[in-house]
């Protein structure tokens, strides 16, 4: 089988630049290999499942194949409770070629965008492959994904949603690359949903890289729900670059998959740039859910804020690694980070590594991390008022994560994310 580097036919073999990039990705991945316990960035998250060697990289077949997919998707299940511009993906493949989007928003399948030289300034420009083995692997299979550009000054009236459906069947390994560009003063809300419509125990792997470029004064609000099948693997990287006075605000809720990692790497390039990275993870069973953030403050007057909450039960393992890096001269910056975890069972585990790396003196930075179980006194208080033990537990858990959800400003989206 040859591990995760398989010789399959990809669309766009006639584009020399793309082929060269894929080759680079292949070499970079082969030289790094899969991360092990010794890889500092993956210290707590084991990817043994992927070493099994039986994942299949699927070729994209002709047009009839996509038709077949469009029929199998249960439209009803994935409908959002609010109005949005929807783009659907099936098993990691784009389901349609044409999107109905308002004026000022350009969207193309990635391959077409590459062919039209739209991606030159963006493709693989937001991260270094040698630091991200899975992004290198993703580069080796560059093909599927969307290139999206919101033109200068355009404010999207409705959120834009990438909706992903995964089916069971073969142990499919899907690589997906999206590029989102917000030009000066543009504003948009991006929603990502990952769910399955096959067997709950389907095994598959989604390896997603989103490259996000936020222009001057532009604002992107990015919401994600990861609710993959119980045995699936989900690895995602959001590599974000923010320019002067731009804002990147994200919220990620993870609740599915057996192994999932959401990595957010934000570079605040110019003065006034701001990043807000919040997340909630809740799980049971044997899952490992990893939230990793890395915020780089490169310019003065930049701000970042992170609030991550986790609820871990069963034999699950929650991982949080957060890093705030402040470059020399990036003065008058503020970086805050808080991680709180709740352990519900005796076999659950939480591993935390919040990191500060500071090379400038005029900064305000802090991080906090706490870990504990439900407060017995609070439980007692509720029970003494006639609330059953289980119900009281649920109330306290809900109250615990609610602080994070309150960070979502849009009511519709907040309710939807909470109740998903």
């Amino acid at each position: 089988m040859g591990g995760l580097i398989q010789n399959i036919k990809l669309i766009g073999a006639d584009l020399p630049k793309l082929e060269a990039l894929r080759e680079k990705g292949r070499n970079s991945f082969l030289s790094q290999g899969l991360p092990t316990a010794k890889t500092e960035a993956w210290k707590y998250t084991r990817v043994r499942e992927l070493a099994d060697d039986d994942f299949v990289m699927e070729e994209t077949c002709g047009s009839d194949c996509s038709k077949e997919h469009s029929s199998c998707c249960c439209q009803g299940k994935c409908a959002l409770p609010f109005d949005a511009y929807e783009i659907h993906f099936c098993d990691g493949k784009l389901r349609e070629d044409h999107f109905h989007l308002p004026e000022g928003v350009q969207a193309l399948p990635l391959i077409d965008a590459v062919a039209e030289n739209e991606t030159t300034a963006f493709l693989n420009k937001s991260f270094e492959m040698q630091n991200f083995p899975f992004a290198a692997l993703n580069t080796a299979y560059l093909e599927q994904g969307v290139f999206l550009r919101v033109e200068s000054g355009v404010c999207l009236d409705k959120p834009l949603a990438f909706i992903h459906h995964s089916h069971g069947g073969v142990k499919r390994f899907a690589n997906l690359r999206n590029i989102v560009v917000l030009e000066t003063g543009a504003q948009a809300t991006l929603i990502e949903v990952y769910q399955y419509s096959g067997e709950a125990k389907s095994e598959y792997c989604n390896n997603i890289v989103n490259e996000i470029f936020i222009g001057r004064q532009a604002v992107l609000r990015h919401y994600k729900i990861q609710s993959e099948a119980l045995k699936a693997v989900h690895i995602a990287l959001n590599a974000v670059k923010v320019r002067e006075n731009g804002l990147y605000e994200s919220f990620c809720r993870q609740k599915g998959a057996n192994l999932a990692r959401q990595e957010t790497h934000v570079v605040l390039q110019e003065s006034g740039a701001e990043a807000v990275v919040n997340a909630v993870y809740m799980m049971n069973g044997w899952a490992t859910l990893d939230t990793t953030t890395d915020i780089e403050h490169l310019a003065q007057n930049t701000r970042s804020n992170q609030l991550v909450k986790g609820v871990v039960g069963g034999q699950a393992k929650g991982v949080f690694q957060g890093k705030i890096h402040i470059a020399p001269n990036a003065v008058q910056t503020e970086g805050y980070q808080l991680h709180k975890a709740l352990l519900l069972s005796d076999e659950a585990e939480v591993d935390v590594k919040p990191e500060l790396e500071i090379f400038a003196d005029d900064v305000k930075c802090s991080h906090g991390a706490t870990c504990g179980e439900l407060d017995a006194e609070q439980l007692f208080y509720l029970q003494s008022r006639g609330i059953g033990a289980e119900e009281a537990r649920q109330m306290l858990i809900e109250a615990f994560v609610d602080e994070s959800f309150q960070m979502i400003k849009d009511d519709n989206i907040r309710h939807w994310m909470k109740s998903f």
């Binding site: 939480v350 591993d351 990191e355 500060l356 500071i358 003196d361 706490t370």
Partner: protein, 481 residues
């Protein structure tokens, strides 16, 4: 204010312990191999079991790699270019202070620990001074012996208390532990040994003074403290080295065994030569310190003030095995010029109701870089474990760096762990407030820094606290402007 430039010029030469004592020393040839180890062992008249231990460690060390994970950059150490044994030459082991070389005693006087004076005056501290590789004199021994307390050099302990040494040496830090500990296990020359018998509260503070004098020597001392059931001891350690252009290596091990209901308080003021202001010279300080709370209700407390060394790599740790045992770590680290420090602690919670507390204060200035690196680990059965960690960093000037890398690994539901870290600079308001009241800028900075470190300084025994406060002021000179 007018004086400031002068102070800045002096900054690199503020090391008042930079003198060299001209004492004939007895060294073994340069380099490291099995013969050298046999020679060291032979010179020290060691029993065969210890030589075997050394050789086993050396053979293991040959296959080890120097760790690179710390945020430190230094020139590669050539382990074959060092002397592994340097002892002040003497005819026979000294029986009393009168037999100790006067030049040597003079060195210690310069360092501020007048041994003779202490023996005469009613001092409160018993001192074991380690000069290069061997322990020179241990004061107050007779008085301690009355209570059954053993406080002597490691070489003597090997001779006089082999059963205790054999039982505990390497039991907390095995030679397989890490690169530098392994090297130390192979070549360690001397150090202090303390045994506090059951139920004894040590009536005075015990103290060791380390000094690297000879050129190109590595100092590999080894300290072992055993506190038997219900005992208590407070132990102090101080370090200095002469000013030299080349780097000196210091790779020590401190092992502490705390049995049921016992308590050990270990305080360090580390003031090895930090190198000059361009980062030339200075001591490479790679130290493994670990305490094991083996019995219930055992308590261990580490307090350190780190102002010296060009490179520091040091993580005093606590293994909390006994139920209700308690570990504490208080640290102040100050780096200036080109100093680098990667320091922190490990708290391993294994027993039930174990508690740990970490207070770390880092001050970086000049072109220095400092990292707090810590681990709090809670095993599945460490019910009701409790940890509180606080790491504060203060940056003075825009060319230094301060980093915090805590690891928290929790596998127990009922454990409550809290970690917080902040980084900031001295606020302009605080400075303004002081200056407004006629306090000079430099003085104001040291006042604020001392306030910032107060929580830790309070943990130090009295005479150490005064020395430490002075050291902090010395380290800070030239840091503003």
């Amino acid at each position: 204010m007018a004086k400031k430039p002068e102070i800045i010029d002096e900054s690199g030469d503020k090391y008042k312990y930079g003198f060299v004592t001209n004492i004939e020393s007895d060294t073994v040839p340069k380099g490291l191999n099995e013969d050298i180890i046999r020679l060291i062992s032979h010179k020290k008249n060691e029993p065969a079991w210890l030589l075997e231990k050394r050789l086993a460690a050396y053979r293991f060390w040959l296959n080890m790699k120097e760790p690179t994970w710390a945020k430190l950059s230094y020139d590669k150490i050539n382990y074959q270019d060092l002397f592994y044994y340097a002892a002040p030459k003497q005819k026979a082991a000294p029986k009393s202070l009168n037999e100790v070389d006067p030049a040597l005693l003079d060195t210690y006087n310069k360092l501020g620990i007048p041994l003779k004076e202490q023996e005469v005056l009613a001092g409160v501290v018993a001192v074991d001074a380690v000069f290069d590789s061997v322990s020179v004199a241990t004061t107050y021994r007779a008085k301690l012996a009355e209570q059954g307390i053993v406080f002597c050099s490691m070489s003597e302990a090997v001779k006089n208390h082999p059963d205790l040494v054999q039982k505990y040496l390497g039991s907390v830090v095995p030679y397989t532990d890490n690169f530098f500990a392994c090297l130390n296990s192979a070549v360690f020359t001397d150090g202090s040994f303390v045994y506090i018998p059951k139920g004894v509260k040590c009536p005075m503070e015990l103290s060791t003074y380390f000094r690297i004098n000879a050129k190109n020597t590595g100092q590999f001392e080894r300290t072992l403290i055993v506190a038997d059931e219900g005992s208590y001891v407070s132990y102090l350690e101080g370090c200095t080295a002469p000013q030299r252009d080349e780097n000196q290596l210091h790779a020590a091990i401190v092992e502490i065994v705390v049995l049921k209901d016992a308590e050990v308080k270990y305080s360090t003021v580390q003031n090895w030569y930090p190198g000059d202001k361009d980062g030339k010279g200075g001591v490479y300080n790679f130290v493994t310190k670990r305490a094991a709370c083996r019995g219930d209700n055992a308590k261990v407390s580490w307090t350190q003030v780190e102002t010296g060394s060009a490179v520091t790599w040091k993580y005093p740790s606590c293994i909390l095995q006994g139920d209700n045992s308690c570990g504490e770590f208080y640290s102040v680290a100050i780096t200036n010029n080109r100093q680098q420090a990667d320091t922190g602690t490990k708290m391993i919670h294994i027993g039930k109701n174990t508690r740990s507390k970490i207070i770390s204060k880092g001050i970086s200035t000049g072109f220095s870089n400092q990292t707090y690196r810590g681990l709090v680990k809670v095993a599945p059965n460490a019910f009701n474990a409790r940890n509180y960690s606080q790491c504060d960093s203060l940056l003075i000037g825009s060319t230094c760096g301060s980093h915090t890398v805590p690891y928290v690994e929790n596998r127990c539901r009922s454990a409550v762990l809290e970690h917080e870290a902040t980084t900031s600079k001295i606020s302009d308001e605080q400075l303004f407030y002081c200056k407004q009241r006629g306090i000079g800028e430099e003085e104001a900075v040291s006042l604020i820094v001392n306030g910032f470190c107060k929580e830790v300084m309070q943990q130090l025994p009295m005479e150490f606290a005064i020395e430490a406060a002075k050291l902090i002021n010395i380290s800070l000179t030239g840091s503003i402007g």
